[in-house]
Symmetry: none
Subunit: 216 residues, 4 copies
Amino acid sequence: MKGEARTKRRHDPDLTKSLILDAAKKEFAEKGFDGARIDQIAATANVNKQLIYYYFDNKDTLFTHVLQAAYQDIRTKEAALELDHLPARDAVLELMDFTWHYYLENPEFIQLLNSENQLKARHLKEVDTIVPINSSWLSITQRILERGQQDGTIRPGIDAMQLNITMSALGFFYLINQSTLSIIYQQDLKRPEALATRRKVMRETIACWLAPGLLP
Amino acid sequence: MKGEARTKRRHDPDLTKSLILDAAKKEFAEKGFDGARIDQIAATANVNKQLIYYYFDNKDTLFTHVLQAAYQDIRTKEAALELDHLPARDAVLELMDFTWHYYLENPEFIQLLNSENQLKARHLKEVDTIVPINSSWLSITQRILERGQQDGTIRPGIDAMQLNITMSALGFFYLINQSTLSIIYQQDLKRPEALATRRKVMRETIACWLAPGLLP
Amino acid sequence: MKGEARTKRRHDPDLTKSLILDAAKKEFAEKGFDGARIDQIAATANVNKQLIYYYFDNKDTLFTHVLQAAYQDIRTKEAALELDHLPARDAVLELMDFTWHYYLENPEFIQLLNSENQLKARHLKEVDTIVPINSSWLSITQRILERGQQDGTIRPGIDAMQLNITMSALGFFYLINQSTLSIIYQQDLKRPEALATRRKVMRETIACWLAPGLLP
Amino acid sequence: MKGEARTKRRHDPDLTKSLILDAAKKEFAEKGFDGARIDQIAATANVNKQLIYYYFDNKDTLFTHVLQAAYQDIRTKEAALELDHLPARDAVLELMDFTWHYYLENPEFIQLLNSENQLKARHLKEVDTIVPINSSWLSITQRILERGQQDGTIRPGIDAMQLNITMSALGFFYLINQSTLSIIYQQDLKRPEALATRRKVMRETIACWLAPGLLP
DNA sequence: GATGAATGAGCCTTCATTCAT
DNA sequence: AATGAATGAAGGCTCATTCAT
């Protein structure tokens, strides 16, 4: 008479947890940490609010989990690229492309990063696996650079971290500031032609910078 | 014990308003729009909280004012650079340097932009002077590009908006994500040598991209 | 000293809701909608203030619930009067008496009505059951009038709505304006003899108006 | 350079005061005491807010002035009716008509009374002239009743205060509760025909009640 | 007489979180 | 594992009122 029309009651913890994480990623990305609402996450995940606390203790911990998963995801996919059999300069451009498209298809990633940086990385500091998780980011680039420098297709003196940061920067800034830039430049920077143009510029920029002979 | 700290009651509206704006810029930059507290702004500005509403109606309007002033400031200083008597490529690098140092000395600017973009530029949309305020950003670059392309020091086919975005991106991304990047790369990206290195990379990147002869 | 008055945490939602509604009726009646304080309602109901929002969303919705319940109550009790077996004129006077005593015993009712009318019935407009709830008010009177007109004890041409309004008016005005009238007439209009006198006048007034033969 | 485009500066205290009082009457009537806003009154009166405090000290005092003026007005106009040369019963109906039309043309009056009664007449208690101001209300009716009872056109035993209250009640209730009644009875009680009908009912009711011979 | 600047108290509402089942 | 009920702290904003000129 009471426990009938009841249930949702999945009783599948792993599914429930992943529903919560997905909803949280969406909410945190969209509103930022402070703007995000636990209530909204519960509604989106279609679970009871208290369950979130049951599995993730509090808002900060939940955010930390989301963040860690986000890093995990991009690094895993990036590592799966198999760039070793490509000529070094093509490999770099492939990596550049991967980054750009990952940002385009996973806008939550760059939004989460922004939010976390606004909070001075207070959550990331707690994730002790964050360095290993991201170690491939550097090593992949390093391997390509070494190859290119040895076969003379990439000029020497390029630092892997700087290259990574530059490749990220070129797309990240464009996408994360798209709203204000679109107003200032009075055009929709998200339309396909605009995105194609930007991609071309980014590839050129990287290619020129790495090209041997130009700089001493 | 009572008539001491009394010294309020300034009755100087312009001063009061600018105190509020300064405090607001600080608070909004540091915490983002949602994280910012009106109480804190009042405390920092050393004014009664209600005065903020007296002069700026509400939190959103206050943020809008801060934002508009921020754009005004960078564009004004940028326009004062007097780049016309420099060789085109030097002028571009000078502009790049200005941008970088402005970001370094006014970290609130990039933080405010980030916050506003997270809110999908909902405040900026209300500022109908935002296009004229920023128009010099484009025209300055355009003028330099034209000069350089005419005297052959800059290759043709460079778009002014893309150049602006690229110059901003190279520094913006590095600084705004400094907290997470410093963790991942296990080094303090804000220390002087790191900043100098980054500046060198950025200048190189821009210089190579603009150099004639390299790309068809 | 601490674990004593703890006895909250009722976990009986129906009880809690009715405690809130009772407290709200009292507060709204006494102070009017604008003068009423959510804090006071929470204190009177002995519940956490936030619970009021948990169950009733906001002040307006809470008021709407109180109002609806108030109408429900008077109409339910009125409908339970069983006037059909009384001679028509006695039935009218009985109804008059019911109204008068209901007002006397439930002063909140007329106060709530006043407050709602000051707000131009903006809450009542949202209650889509308000017409059916009140439909008996009219039909009861109509049935009596028909009987009386058929057996000749009530003159023809009396409109049921006008009769209802008149019966209400005679007592409502006296009670709702009791404070100012008592000052102007320099006597306490709430003392038993005064109330008895007023009741007599009201019954006379209605009786005379309905009496056949007097008016053409 | 500063005191030029300045002025409104009427420098006519009496006019200013009456502008404030008019605006206050409107605001208090429309929103009630608690709902009324000093800012709104200042705006409507087109005066500086502080002027209101200069002339009327505070919100309560202002309301008191408005209230006193309201009573003054109705009593003055009522006293100017010159009913002495009319037959007694006609005089009563004339008074009834005056009351009804006064309410219709000065809706603020009944709204102010309602608001004041909600506050338990706390302002009226402070007006020591309120009894003399209203004394004519009673004496006018008394004189008519005496005449009517002497010439046999009005039955004995009618109390002047009860007659006054009844005459007021019949119209007051209808008008003050017009919003809720219109919803419940699904018709606009303010339309001309409805008003005419109500007036007819009220006149009948009074006439019947006063008619000799009907009651013992 | 008239005005703009400034204040303190308080109000409705939100939100992360915990209790109890 | 899952849920509804309950809470305390605070946040944005309003409002009558006073200060200073």
